[in-house]
Subunit: 364 residues, 2 copies
């Protein structure tokens, strides 16, 4: 009989060395959702889009030739930024692109949140924010969500440190209104406010149109979710020209060419084929509403979602158990074993077939 | 009559804003070589490879499907790192990959050079090093080159701050011997030493085999030069497992997925098609020797090059003038109008036809 020795790579003892600086030692790195390979897996754990990118995007990638790959890409990504500027009705100098919106956040934290003041963000939010704070030695100040898990912008302290929040928030999927964001901007005028709109395609109202009005507003978005390009790493930020210029200066002091030639070509093609993206987004929204209804019928409490995922409280405190059973059945969702979240599951919206399988597994 | 108002975008007045932090204000960003588009340009200014990547690499990119692009790439790039580990005879945990070697340097500076001590590097070297020091507030300590522009490792102060240098050095192209690097490692044991081997494919001896022996040695390389993939952004670092783990921790606190699905696929195919890469590299070396001979015949002093570029002192102090005239004729080379470099041109090695055009332009 064989005895299987299971070693969890995630929790192995880290090798220590005297060469690690305080910077390395103080880090608790971000842990992305599991990328389990192969087999009969329904992957609802990393908020990926269930539909492939537009055929035009695939064609644009195939058209990039060897001569373009042997050369450095345009370090300023002018053609891609121009396409984004036209699409959103802003100027070229209002647009910044990066290697996924995570890189943009990492650069923005370094550029704008290292001013020696605390950074304010919701106490339940994207878990990369505290990681960036550790990396740069920024003091975090967390703002409590309401009892219904919504984010009241009234709770932020204007002009007492920079502000960042996702809209819609993660992992709750709850959106904040355009008017509430604008109202906070009217009060918070002295430091930067970064609105992280990674999931805005699925329901929240973007505040990109406000960048001309508020010189301290930075808005980040991504091609990973609505535009089905998580594998390509492409993010974008919008802001006042001086704010974007500051971000460019930090980027050009970190890595001149973070957006490669293929990502630039694919991004341009994705913006051009807007109809495809609108269709897949609407399908995901429809599937989300079906999923919410099915989960609610089964005793789940589901927060109102403006994202491509739902945050659902399992009946009778069964979230942890359900997470494990779903995983064993090949349905991956996201679960955090932390006090405020331990009764909840974050479930990405897949195809109708994916969600039918989820519901069937829950019933089983 | 129309009056043309010429505005140089490079030197426009930077927009200032009260939102810029000290971090942004203190930066003098890196300026990459000009990426002039179109027309009849011979581009010998950014050390790009004149040959396209292997057909197998192009095919690997075309084989990546939409399902792979809608999903996040493997954040640990295990397959690519395994291929690199096998190729170089090291373990998987000795290999780190990033979005170009510039990103790796940026992360390594943050991980290992922010210990409050000065960082030692040559006074004539890759001009991104002082930029990273500005970004992170690291104190630089520059080490003078010899009169013949070679780098004597004897001049570094062992254990009095971390060390970084390129081998071969840039923009001089002069290599340091394996024995000299090993000898410095025997003396410098208390802080990290980073050997930047961006150009090692063209003549220097890599110290990758020493990573098992010296736990403070980090070696960086790139796919941009020898492997003709500047457009794709792929770099690699080798080191002791604990040193690489520290770099992973910083990377996973900055951006989980810097290497996209296409870059991972292309990198794997590039390593597999080693014969192609060896052939193009040898051709470039042969062309370099021809170019050195032609330049020397015309009164240039050319430093011994172990890179895919040459550093050449123009006769009679004509470097600045020659740079301008070559640029007007469509032949781009690199020139720095700084005291120690103002008599020199850095000329990338292109195809034989490119170099014949260069020589013809010089003769004209």
């Amino acid at each position: 009989m064989l005895v299987a020795l299971v070693i969890c790579a995630r929790h192995k003892i880290e090798p220590m060395t005297r060469f690690w600086t305080d910077t390395v030692n103080r880090l608790t790195p971000y842990v992305p959702g599991e990328q389990r390979a192969g087999g009969d897996i329904t992957k609802l754990n990393t908020n990926e889009n269930p539909y492939p990118p537009s055929p035009d995007v695939m064609e644009a990638i195939r058209r990039v030739n060897g001569d373009q790959l042997r050369r450095y890409p345009d370090p300023e990504s002018v053609e891609l930024r121009s396409a984004l500027a036209s699409y959103h009705g802003v100027g070229l100098d209002n647009v910044f692109v990066g290697n996924g919106s995570d890189e943009i956040l990492a650069l923005a934290f370094l550029a704008y949140f290292t001013d020696g003041r605390a950074l304010q963000y919701p106490d339940i939010t994207y878990s990369f924010y505290p990681v960036y704070c550790d990396l740069y030695g920024i003091e975090p100040k967390t703002i409590a969500l309401e009892a219904d898990y919504s984010l009241s912008l009234e709770r932020f302290l204007p002009n007492e440190g920079s502000i960042i929040f996702p809209n819609p928030n993660a992992p709750t999927a709850v959106a904040t209104s355009f008017e509430d964001v604008k109202s906070l901007l009217d009060r918070h005028t002295e430091q930067v406010m970064l609105v992280d709109e990674a999931y805005a395609d699925f329901g929240a109202t973007s505040v990109i149109p406000l960048v001309h009005e508020y010189p301290n507003l930075l808005v980040s978005q991504t091609f990973s979710k609505g535009r089905s390009l998580a594998g390509l790493r492409l993010g974008v930020a919008f802001g006042d020209a001086a704010l974007i210029d500051g971000l460019q200066r930090v980027k050009n002091s970190f890595n001149s060419y973070p957006v490669d030639a293929l990502a630039q070509a694919a991004g341009i093609a994705s913006i051009a084929d807007d109809a495809y993206y609108r269709t897949t987004t609407q399908t995901i929204i429809d599937t989300r509403e079906w999923t919410v209804s099915e989960l609610t019928n089964r005793g789940f409490e589901v927060l109102p979602s403006a994202a491509n995922f739902v945050f659902a409280k399992a009946p009778a405190g069964a979230a942890g158990h359900l997470f494990t059973r779903l995983s064993e059945a090949g349905v991956l969702v996201r679960y955090w074993d932390k006090p405020a979240l331990s009764q909840w599951l974050r479930i990405s919206i897949g195809t109708p077939g994916d969600m039918q399988r989820l519901i069937a597994c829950i019933d089983a």
